[in-house]
Amino acid sequence: MELYELPMIEVSEKIRAKEVSPVEVTQSSLARLEEVEPRLTAFATITPELALEQAKIAEKEISDGNYRGPLHGIPLAVKDLYDTAGVSTTSSSAQRTDYVPDTDSVSVAKLYEAGMVLIGKTHTHEFAYGATTPTTGNPWAPDRTPGGSSGGSGAAVASGVVHVALGSDTGGSIRIPAALCGTVGLKPTFGRASRVGVASLSWSLDHVGPLTRNVVDSALVMAAMSGYDRTDPGTVDVPVPDMVTGIAAGVAGKKIGIPVNYYTEQISAEAAQAAANAAATLEALGAELVEVRIPMAEHIISTEWAIMMPEATAYHMDYLRNSPEKFTDETRTLLEVGAAELATDYINALRLRTLIQAAWTEMFSSIDVLLAPTLVAAATLRSDPFIRWGDGTVEGATPAYVRLSAPANVTGLPSLSVPAAFTADGLPLGVQIIGKPFAEPEILQFGYALEQNTDVVGRIAPVAAKTAS
């Protein structure tokens, strides 16, 4: 068995015990990358020299008795939206072909501090404005989308190149690729981690977080990334909890909200069944299932788009006025829409967000977590990014995938997507566990319970030449 095939915590233990060197771990990661990258194009930039240099430093530190913890010497992939000092950071856009930051984003700096090793920068849907990442293939079927916008990160983790890749999530961009690629994805509570140094899509809705192979990996990385940052007005000055120690505490006695609306509408039978099976698994472990009605459901999507679009356009206005031809047509069109939105519509969406937050607080007074499908369906073909429903409706992949993930962005609540099943065609499906504000440790407990009691979390895609039917 190759090193990259082992679970991260086993690799960490081998590094700690000096049974393997971070250099060997990095070489294993780079070898896997070389093997699968031609079929996936998950990476915008690969940094083998930097990775081996960082790995050698980690090796010496550990050899000298300065072991930093379970992330020390572990390879990391970073979405190309995150600034990385001295490393090209294009946001997968021709607008930033030549952009090489001088400093690291806060998240990357914290993970370097924890001893992680940068393997490369992963492709994003251009500037995170979409949910398909057209550059990249899904490791389970390279002719299918890996989702997005953190699609390169999803593909890098699912194919085994890395155990950990960073994503960002404005309408589902961590959880969508996690679900479509069969990885774990954690969008923390709004305010839990700093976005400084990450290209913005929407300041009011952006979150940073990890995609990982296993649940405990997300706990370790999210804890390391978290914390108040006075330079990010969105972060909240609350203590960062230990997200790992109690992860195996179980779910007995916990109340799980099972939605009877919104998350049940216009969804594939297989995605609905995967969520039902996950609920049954947790019920068998002693949790109580409680049916709940999602409040203000009819306002969630309009609120998401009404806030996101003008904020995105404001961020990109100089490009849009001076070099619009450098955007893909899809991104340019969305940015143009944002320029035509009335300020009053934007403000009213922010007012609606206040009401939605209050209504969801009330809903959570009777439950501990909400369990729902992460997505309405599995990965579409890259050449045909649409979902055709039984009633004849045709829905674009991005709006379809965003539908079930946007509520956690509008409310700011933490949401963990965990692999839940594979379709008859061999494509992954996920479920999400949405928690109370700053309750990341609790949703990680639920995810861990699912991982321990099912057989779909932690798989590595073979990245075969064949495609799913």
């Binding site: 829409v337 320029a339 519509d345």
Partner: protein, 65 residues
């Protein structure tokens, strides 16, 4: 006309782009009008009536730290 029935005309969208300082050709406007109009109509649905005294969820840093 209620807010929920709002769909901007091509002329309204064109005027909004001009006011925003964007140079959108008539061909481009015609080709993408359906996307522009349907998305702006979706957005208008968030401008729901009866928001009353509700304050917007904004991130202004009132603590000045």
């Amino acid at each position: 006309m209620s807010d929920s029935e709002f769909v901007p005309s091509e002329a309204q969208v064109s005027a909004a782009f001009e006011y925003a300082g964007l140079d959108i050709s008539s061909d481009r406007l015609a080709a993408n009008y359906e996307t522009y109009a349907s998305t702006l109509a979706l957005i208008r649905k968030a401008s729901t009536p009866s928001l009353g005294e509700t304050a917007p969820a904004v991130a202004f840093k009132a603590s000045w730290d």
